[in-house]
Symmetry: C2
Subunit: 332 residues, 2 copies
DNA sequence: GCCACGATCTAGAACGTTCTAGAGTCGTTG
DNA sequence: CAACGACTCTAGAACGTTCTAGATCGTGGC
């Protein structure tokens, strides 16, 4: 059986089993309404004929899409981790995910448009860059859940970590270790950068360290962290809190190349608790976002919206958590 | 307009424009058969009513799925790069991609099953782990193109780099620099590891360096490279060729922590030319797989199979290319 | 004027499945 | 025995779109 050949349909199974198409549908859906003997007979035929449901027909007729569209960016370790959680959460709720990637050569609008045509019941957008107004227009059409970015619009649901709080935790941790000269490598124009930066400033102020406030422009990738590290070399702080884990690894690399000992000479805190930050040779102290909780909440929120439920709070802000590993210690 | 509300259909546009449903379909598909005046009128109505095609209905009725299913692994930088290329290639051929991820908690079979239900015209599998027999059974059902792994079965199409040749290039390059004690950190049970290992052995033998053959078990992730590096520390070779770029970064990290200078004390070659290997602070010498060519060929192969074309060679093996950057130099 | 042809447009059926209403059967109760 | 309820099963329509055959109109040639 190859290209162009028709796949097995419910009608084929029905003919072979000697029952109606509708009854075969009932059996394949495990819906009530068929006897045990009939179920067994139908399932046997379906197995023999290798019947696979046609999700297009199913989605079209049922008028109930159990499909959640997810827009994610390639080369985002954190998005990878979120995808892992989202698949699990969707599965638990009886939903399927359909993914659409944003790549260096495929923009976010294109990614979203594809999902609209698939008639997804809802969209989950991972760190979208689109302006709020655009997201709101989209949310007029179908439920939209944004993850990892604060979107202030009543039509858009948000599941995110308290990024301001996250950076405060980082600064608190460093201050507790005795650090005063604490710098922050921010995320440039990336989603969440402003909140994290604000959290850093607030915490520094809270600890009476205003005069030591120092923000270096960074970004979300390794090279961004590496570049920022080079800007710190002339006058290194005793500690630095970085926008995210990936940038932190770039920064660590450059520090080490310049014979700065971590954490002896300089302590480093990342953000995300991405899977690689746990690796023995990186052992990164970091602010953890609770990925599985976020994924679960995002899917639940999407599903509730689809079901027309009245949702109490359109924005869910999850507390970050400090994960202390090997890249932080007392200043010398 | 929110959840549960019906979306604009061709019938709505037709009623408003005062033409038949079939004519609206012709206009929306830019198919011949409508006058310019009618086209304009219909497009105006469609825009006003915000008509979006329903891809489920379209796919179901047309009997021609222009959908390519792609199975990829999260946390695989190389797969990310391939996705970027595949989206471009598919777009050029008028196909859409639908993605299905393999995660630590969602296995490959599940990923494939989802795509079968979507009635994809063909599947493109990135480095699948499934046994050949399973892939062959799948290929009985629809065209299957495997990327980055050699699958010896006439029903399965393959687009891959000559991995054996790739490692030979790496060894040749190192020998040309004067190295003799060249080790190889392999990919353990990962796809392509055997070919790369064989290429390493062949090249070492070719250069009369049999007695220096040394293979360290590795893997595809950073920690795998880091672990392998630790095994090399007691008796470091002057050079090492690593299974892939990601493992190479892990290995580099450990070498640097142990004050081994790269490339002064030890040269390092990666594999893939992943996007991060080009970063200024990594500057990795590596064996490049030609991502865009691979993506283009895989999509073309899939499309040809869908079209029922007679395909001359089911396996396309692409020559790798040596990319010399800063991690290799003459031995001391 | 008649005929042939091409372009435009329409009506109806089909894609594979689910939904819904109704028919038929069986068992229980009055 | 008749009525009722529960369960099983079926027939037919619907989901939104495309395919296909045919009707209609306009134009050009004879």
């Amino acid at each position: 059986m190859r290209t162009g050949e028709r796949r097995t349909t419910l009608a084929d199974v029905a003919a072979e089993a000697g029952v109606s198409v509708a009854l075969v549908s009932i059996v394949m859906r495990a819906a009530p309404g068929a006897s045990a003997a009939t179920r067994q007979r139908v399932l046997e035929v379906a197995r023999r004929l290798d019947y696979q449901p046609d999700s297009r027909a199913r989605l079209l007729r049922s008028g109930e899409s159990r499909l959640l569209g997810v827009v994610f960016g390639v080369r985002h370790p954190f998005h990878d981790d979120l995808l892992t959680g989202l698949y699990d959460a969707a599965d638990k709720q009886g939903y399927e995910l359909t993914l659409s990637a944003v790549t260096p050569r495929r923009d976010e609008r294109t990614a979203i448009a594809g999902l609209l045509q698939d008639r997804c019941a809802a969209l989950i957008l991972l760190g979208p860059l689109a302006p709020t107004a655009e997201l709101a227009t989209l949310a007029d059409r179908l439920p939209v859940v944004v993850m990892t970015r604060a979107v202030r619009h009543r039509a858009v649901d948000v599941v995110r970590t308290d990024d301001s709080r996250g950076l405060q935790l980082a600064v608190d941790h460093l201050v507790e270790l005795g650090h005063r000269r604490i710098a922050h490598v921010d995320g440039a124009r990336w989603v969440a950068s402003a909140d994290r930066r604000q959290g850093y400033r607030d915490a520094m102020r809270r600890h009476g360290l205003d005069e030591f406030v120092r923000v270096i422009p960074g970004g979300s990738g390794e090279e961004d962290g590496a570049r920022a590290a080079r800007l710190l070399l002339d006058d290194p702080p005793t500690a630095v809190a970085v926008f995210n884990d990936l940038a932190a690894t770039g920064l660590l690399d450059v520090l080490r190349r310049h014979d700065l000992d971590v954490p002896g000479d300089i302590s480093v805190v990342g953000y995300d608790d991405s899977s690689f930050s746990r690796l023995a040779h990186i052992d990164l102290t970091t602010v953890a976002q609770d990925i599985d909780t976020m994924a679960t909440l995002a899917v639940s929120r999407a599903v509730e919206r689809v079901a027309g439920a009245h949702v109490a709070h359109r924005e869910t802000v999850i507390a970050p958590r400090m994960v202390i590993r090997g890249t932080t210690g007392p200043p010398r």
